[in-house]
């Protein structure tokens, strides 16, 4: 593990003194890292900082993958992914979203939504193209736009308005260089799920300015106020739907997701994917297909469980004066800590060192996340109750 500019042992001298990629070097590391390192160094921490389910993958999917390994599913698949899986994905989207993508050439199985997002941006952007990124948002959105040669244009959403995707705020940021709007609903970190009306208006805005809508729908199954509203239903011709199995089916470590887009764009993504990733892991694709076929009851149970924790935890925070709109989706609450007078970093660091509860400061998700912290309730009820007691002690 040599530092990039350090001396290596043995022959050869120093690494080349030529500069690294300026684009990459200009992006700071994720602000989450610092809290991870701090939390790792401590014992007895209750972590509300985890962005993944606390359930293991449903057994039927795990068992299918074990069986697949025993029977030799250790090879590449077609670049696009196993056809039965793509058919299951497109049928599912037709059913739940009311949008019919073609399994043959409009659906690509990727190594998680992360790869799907990277492919989308690389296939779409030319140098100088702007992508509007409403924030607070998932930490990877802006860096991925920059890595692809684009210019991320963060747009602050209003916490007082439950971080609504207000088309007026978004519209004010459109320039002649704007190519796309990138957002997630339900949102990490705020947990807010956008309304059908706002998404309809956003689609109209995109149509007016001829923009793409890049929609991260990884939390689409985790909604608590009725059914998920996809933006693709309003503007299928200009929407890229990014989805996956990580959150719905508790399959984060399998690295399998998908991207569905109109055919010409999907084919360009396919071109990058075939040269870089080749395919998503074969055994993971088999597990994902089995999950779609047999784990619907597991999903329902997990969602019902998150829903109970969501109610308990947001009520508890509210009683402590850390107000938050009851989140409509995902497994995050994003309470305001204004009543404590602390910055979000001070709050998160103090809470971790004094009371051993890990949360993520809101400012790592964008400047308008300042004054908030992200708490994940993908944690056992008993842990959430203990965490509430500790937070109460901390702010007392």
């Amino acid at each position: 593990m040599g530092a990039p500019d350090g001396q290596r042992d043995g022959a050869g001298g120093s690494t080349p003194q030529r500069p690294f990629s300026r684009t990459v070097a200009a992006i700071p590391p994720s602000g989450i890292r610092k809290f991870f390192d701090l939390a790792q160094s401590m014992q007895g921490v209750i972590s509300l900082g985890v962005g993944e389910p606390d359930f293991p993958t449903p057994w039927s999917a795990r068992e299918a993958a074990i069986h697949a390994l025993e029977h030799g599913a250790t090879t590449y698949t077609s670049n696009s992914g196993l056809l039965p899986l793509r058919e299951a994905i497109t049928d599912d989207l037709a059913d739940r979203y009311g949008v019919r993508y073609r399994a043959e050439d409009e659906c690509l199985v990727t190594s998680g939504v992360s790869e799907g997002l990277d492919l989308t941006l690389r296939a779409l952007l030319n140098p100088g193209d702007e992508v509007i990124v409403p924030e607070p948002c998932y930490v990877a959105y802006q860096p991925c736009v920059a890595f692809a040669g684009g210019i991320p244009v963060p747009v602050a959403l209003d916490p007082g308005d439950a971080y609504r995707l207000d088309p007026a705020i978004i519209g004010a940021a459109v320039t002649e260089n704007t190519k796309a709007i990138l957002f997630g609903s339900p949102s990490n970190p705020t947990g807010s799920a956008q309304s059908a009306g706002d998404l309809e208006a956003l689609a109209a805005l995109a149509r007016e300015h001829d923009l793409w809508l890049l929609s991260d729908e990884i939390y689409d199954r985790l909604t608590y106020h009725g059914i998920h509203t996809p933006v693709a239903a309003s503007a299928p011709e200009r929407t890229v739907t990014l989805g996956g199995f990580s959150k719905s089916y508790a399959m984060t470590g399998w690295r399998v997701g998908y991207v569905c887009a109109p055919e010409p764009l999907a084919q360009l993504m396919h071109r990058i994917h075939q040269y870089t990733m080749l395919c998503a892991p074969h055994m993971s694709q088999i597990a994902a297909l089995e999950a779609m076929r047999t784990a619907q009851d597991d999903v329902e149970e997990m969602v019902a469980d998150y829903d109970r924790r969501r109610r308990l935890f947001s009520k508890g925070l509210d009683e402590l004066g850390l107000t938050c709109p009851v989140p409509g989706g995902a497994f995050y609450v994003f309470p305001s800590i204004a009543s404590t007078g602390m910055t979000s970093e001070e709050f998160a660091e103090g809470l971790l060192t004094q009371e051993k509860v890990a949360v993520v400061p809101g400012n790592v998700f964008g400047p308008s996340g300042e004054g908030h912290v992200r708490c994940s309730y993908a944690t056992a009820l008993s842990q959430l109750e203990q965490a509430l007691e500790r937070i109460a002690r901390f702010i007392a």
């Binding site: 939390a39 985890v50 109970r308 993520v360």
Partner: protein, 159 residues
């Protein structure tokens, strides 16, 4: 309303207040429903799922397949009810297949269970044969895995 029962089924200790918080149903309504269900028998009783092996108790359980000559006009009901009344019997089910009833017998020792089957169960009128399977180990009971839970392997802070 189903949600109230779901919570109680996994935690019989849950108070009405807690159930109200978890389900978003108001507390008075929760109380009313629980009282009605207790009265009507939807809620049969509140129990703990105990792993007696882990406690250190050595109990012996056997599943006994019982063949019965059914009674004219009454089928299996009379015999099944007669068997079910014994304290040693934990469960009685009428099943399809080669035998008729599958019953669960519990005792302090293998001898106690064997004596019960030989002297009581086989001696009941219309019981024509029994096949006894002693339970060796429980892995899952009442929908609850009895093996150790999988450790949480998640990193403590992730995006």
């Amino acid at each position: 309303m189903r949600e109230i029962l779901t919570v109680l089924e996994s935690d019989a200790h849950a108070s009405a207040e807690r159930i109200a918080t978890l389900t978003g149903i108001d507390e008075a309504t929760v109380r009313e429903h629980i009282a009605a269900w207790e009265a009507s028998g939807v809620i049969r009783r509140y129990k703990a799922v105990v792993d007696w092996d882990r406690f250190g108790d050595e109990r012996v359980t056997a599943f006994v397949d019982v063949t019965v000559a059914p009674e004219r006009g009454r089928g299996f009901d009379d015999v099944a009810e007669r068997i079910a009344r014994f304290r040693e019997i934990r469960a009685v089910h009428l099943v399809s297949g080669a035998q008729d009833l599958r019953v669960e017998v519990e005792g302090a020792s293998m001898k106690e269970v064997a004596d019960f089957v030989a002297q009581k169960l086989s001696g009941i009128d219309r019981v024509t044969a029994t096949t006894t399977h002693f339970l060796l180990r429980r892995y899952k009971d009442d929908g609850q895995l009895l093996t150790d839970p999988e450790p949480d392997q998640r990193l403590s802070v992730t995006p």
